[in-house]
């Protein structure tokens, strides 16, 4: 490939955190029993919040739409089981704020009632029909960002998309949900990939998987031959699964700074999302459950469970037989980019890839100090920024300097904070700067 000549083999920077995946990597996905109640968070996507279309006392069936989308960048939400709506409640959200959720008291029958019809003949269907179905099934990026999938699949006319990349890197330590899914459900993932590629009219498909999952690579390689999908083993390096880094590793294309994957002709989807797309299109099943890893050194039985949306972290933890000792932190997501929780009443949403319990010894307790300019963060930043300068600028509220040193390109991967000997809460500083700069830009636009 002449296109790749003279380019670095790997993306620059990155770190090797202790991966902790052995805790749950060998445990196959368990089905969760039916719980008494589910609290389905209303807004589970980036973008506009959907509007609830049920009220207290309504009887709902499993898979029935309970909130409709209110704009283009928005997805509907569906009932995870059959039962009665017992109200719209405020519950703690995964990101620390309190969020609205629809509470459903389960009737124990789990009766199916989705209005989506299976499309066995999806190959003959129109692109727009497939995209509409992906929207109707409420599918969002399940890797973390929760960006509505149908939006990603509808690039503007002038963008020429020719590459679909499935993200099976799962570079976050401890998480194994995607790993298990790839081992146990390769067909769903591969067919989902075909459906997505079909709707974009492209035929180059690749699945990127980190080399620490040789079993998943082997299984997918065995199956993928029939579909013309290539499997790309990736170097073990956090953040291998970050969109721009993944695209670079697989295609050697660089997403322009400040741009989107589509600017270099790529679309990236998580493997779990691909599986969900398959369910939605072929089986007519909206996104109401996902595989989540429940793990940590203090968990009695770490493993992977298929959980319905709206399951509380408390219920989920009980599935894993509770804890041995009190953890220091409970994190939704992985240890590098996940959010620390203060309540166990937070519920599973479409992007909850894991519930991670960290002991005091595993986690980093910050006693942050002055930056000694060791340049550790500069060496590991995968976006090739100068985090030390950015963080100092943010602390001094010099947001103009932060902007000039490209803080907006930061993806908050946390590599810089991971290596900082002064234990500076870099990501916190960077988020602060990004937030302020965004606010300023918006204010300027409104003027």
């Amino acid at each position: 490939m002449s296109e790749n000549q003279g380019k670095r083999k790997y993306f620059r920077g990155g770190v090797h955190p202790h991966d902790g995946k052995a805790l749950s990597a060998k445990n196959s996905i368990n089905e969760a029993p039916l719980f008494d109640k589910y609290q389905v968070v209303l807004q589970q996507n980036i973008g506009a919040p959907p509007k609830a279309i049920v009220k207290k006392g309504d009887v709902v069936l499993k898979g029935q739409m309970i909130a409709e989308s209110t704009g283009f960048v928005c997805t509907p939400v569906h009932a995870p089981t059959s039962g009665v709506v017992s109200g719209i409640v405020e519950i703690p959200g995964a990101m620390g704020q309190s969020v609205k959720a629809i509470e459903i008291a389960s009737d124990g029958e789990d009766k199916w009632g989705s209005s989506l019809k299976p499309m066995k003949d999806w190959e003959q269907r129109d692109d727009s029909e497939i995209k509409q179905r992906i929207h109707d099934a409420g599918i969002v990026g399940m890797g973390g960002a929760a960006f509505p999938t149908h939006v990603k699949l509808s690039p503007p006319e002038n963008k020429n998309i020719d590459y679909l990349i499935l993200n099976g890197a799962e570079c976050e330590p401890y998480l194994t949900a995607d790993h298990r899914l790839m081992i146990e459900d390769p067909e769903r993932i591969l067919k989902g990939a075909l459906i997505i590629a079909n709707s974009l009219n492209i035929n180059k498909i690749a699945i990127g998987i980190e080399k620490n999952k040789p079993d998943a690579i082997k299984i997918l390689k065995k199956h993928s031959a029939d579909y013309g999908i290539s499997i790309v083993p990736l170097r073990m390096m956090y953040p291998q699964g970050a969109e721009k880094q993944l695209i670079y590793s697989v295609t050697k294309r660089k997403v322009p700074a400040g741009g989107l994957p589509m600017d270099c002709g790529c679309v990236v989807q998580n493997v779990a999302t691909a599986a969900a797309v398959y369910d939605a299109v072929v089986k007519g099943q909206p996104l109401i459950e996902r595989v989540t890893t429940i793990t940590g050194n203090s968990v009695v039985n770490p493993g992977n469970w298929r959980l319905k949306l709206g399951t509380t972290a408390l219920d989920a933890l009980k599935l894993a037989s509770g804890v041995k000792n009190n953890p220091a932190k409970i994190i939704m997501g992985g240890p590098m980019m996940g959010f620390a929780q203060k309540s166990l009443m937070v519920t599973i949403t479409k992007n909850s890839s894991g519930i991670l319990l960290l002991d005091k010894e595993d986690t980093s307790i910050y006693e942050s100090r002055q930056c000694i300019n060791c340049k550790g963060c500069v060496d590991v930043c995968p976006m090739n920024l100068t985090p030390s300068v950015l963080s100092k600028a943010a602390v001094k509220e010099n947001f103009d300097i932060a902007e000039r040193f490209n803080v907006m390109d930061c993806m908050e991967c946390g590599c810089c904070a991971y290596v900082c000997p002064s234990r500076r809460p870099m990501v916190q500083h960077l988020r602060l700067a990004k937030g302020k700069i965004l606010a300023k830009r918006r204010a300027q636009q409104n003027k």
Binding site: K254, L317, K318, P327, V378, L385, V389
Partner: protein, 464 residues
């Protein structure tokens, strides 16, 4: 019993004991004390070499510098500590200054009265002046052991106070002063060691004290402590002392080995008076010149440099058997230190290589273009003076070097250029400290010029 356990509700975490913080939630375990410890480890060979060559007279300087630096750092960080530690020093210092002042006033008045006729008051003032002079000399000749023990006791006392206070604050859930964390990080120890490396063996204790003050207080704490100082503290102290007490900073002792190999030509070059040299018993009895100073002298005379560049001479330079600062002489020990630093990724190899390389290139070019050599060859310049010490330990100082790799390379080349210019054409035989300090001042500018381009950067102007 087991059955009972299984039937019980599973244990779930207690919500009130959960911690919240921003991601990431894991860390690679690196810390400032670890970095400082590793740098000290890398310094160890050079320290060992210094102690080997000068014995006790080097060891005491090292001790003074470390103790005084830690004391200064601690007193800057803790006011309680400062009060306990500084009060005796202040009283002592005031006494010294007062006696000296009386002496000068006496002299002044004395002079005034000599031209006049009356002699009565002179005798009185004269005696006063003399008395104060004697007192001053006495004050400054306190045995060194007393000073060391005094400082150690003070540090111990004050640290205990600090620890007790810190424990109390923690129990009461109050914000800790942070002084203790800052003292524990070991940066003051490192500064002290680096300062000592830049002083000659046998430097008196009070020079070390002033040096520690310059390094820690003027060089570091007034800017806001670790991480905020624009200049390398040890070099600030060295240059400050050099300006204030030049004679102490350029009196070099011969190494013990030099005394043993008395009859080589090499030694003749460094001791201009053979009889004194031959009667010297210990290193403290006699002084020597550094190879660079000799080279400068020869250059001024327009003489030939060949005695300085014999094989024996090079071997001596490489091992460190020459006059100079405690830490700068042994190239071998410094190179071992460099390997340690690079191995643990504490410095970038580019910095010393570009620094030394630039000096080598400029020296070679300078000699090439004149009709006869203006200075000894590049190898001589690399092995003598503080070049290796500066390139390996000073120019790579994290805090005072640029933020990016490219910036560091620019920085190193700048240091190399300035060093060679000062050495060849400047008034001083040695230019490493000055050049690094000058480049330190330029770091913000270098940072601006060498800002990194983010991943996927597109040049907007080029595209348009």
């Amino acid at each position: 019993m087991n059955v009972e356990n299984i039937e019980k509700e599973p244990l779930v975490p207690k919500e009130n004991q959960l911690m919240i913080s921003s991601s990431p939630h894991v860390h690679n375990g690196n810390s400032v004390p670890r970095i400082m410890g590793l740098v000290i480890l890398a310094l160890a060979p050079a320290i060992g070499a210094g102690v080997y060559f000068w014995g006790m007279s080097a060891l005491t300087v090292l001790l003074y510098c470390v103790i005084f630096c830690v004391a200064m750092e601690a007193s800057c960080l803790s006011w309680r500590f400062a009060k306990t530690l500084l009060a005796p020093f202040v009283i002592y210092g005031t006494l010294c200054v007062l006696t000296k002042a009386i002496f000068f006033i006496g002299r002044f008045i004395n002079m005034g009265y000599v031209s006049a006729t009356s002699k009565e008051p002179i005798a009185f003032i004269d005696s006063l002046s003399e008395m104060s002079q004697n007192l001053f000399t006495k004050l400054f000749s306190i045995p060194e052991v007393v000073v060391i023990i005094f400082s150690l006791v003070m540090i111990a006392l004050a640290l205990t106070l600090e620890i007790i206070k810190d424990k109390k604050d923690r129990l009461a859930n109050k914000e800790c002063s942070g002084a203790l964390i800052a003292i524990k990080d070991g940066s003051a120890i490192l500064t002290g060691l680096l300062l000592a490396m830049n002083l000659a063996a046998g430097t008196p204790w009070w020079i070390c004290l002033v040096g520690a003050f310059l390094a820690i207080v003027i060089g570091k704490q007034v800017f806001g402590g670790i991480g905020n100082n624009p200049f390398n503290p040890a070099l600030v102290a060295r240059v400050g002392l050099f300006i204030g007490f030049a004679s102490y900073l350029s009196t070099w002792r011969p190494t013990t080995l030099m005394l043993k190999t008395s009859d080589s030509i090499y030694n003749k070059l460094f001791f201009n008076n053979d009889t004194v040299y031959n009667s010297a018993k210990t290193v403290m009895d006699f002084t020597t010149a550094t190879p660079l100073a000799v080279a400068k002298e020869l250059a001024d005379k327009g003489a030939d440099f060949s005695p300085l560049t014999t094989k024996t001479a090079y071997l001596n330079y490489f091992l460190g058997n020459m006059g100079g600062c405690i830490g700068e002489t042994s190239a071998l020990a410094l190179l071992i230190g460099a390997v340690i630093l690079i191995w643990f990724k504490l410095i970038k190899w580019e910095v010393p290589v570009y620094f030394v390389g630039t000096v080598a290139v400029v020296v070679t070019l300078a000699n090439l273009f004149g009709n006869k050599p203006v200075t000894p060859n590049a190898l001589f310049h690399i092995l003598t003076g503080g070049l290796l010490l500066g390139a390996i330990f000073m120019a790579t100082d994290m805090v005072t070097s640029p933020s990016t790799k490219l910036g560091c390379i620019v920085f190193a080349i700048g240091c190399g250029l300035l060093t060679s210019v000062i050495r060849i054409w400047g008034g001083y035989p040695e230019g490493v400290s000055f050049s690094i300090l000058i480049m330190n001042a330029l770091v913000p500018m270098i940072n601006n010029f060498t800002a990194k381009k983010p991943f996927g950067y597109v040049n907007v102007k080029a595209e348009a």
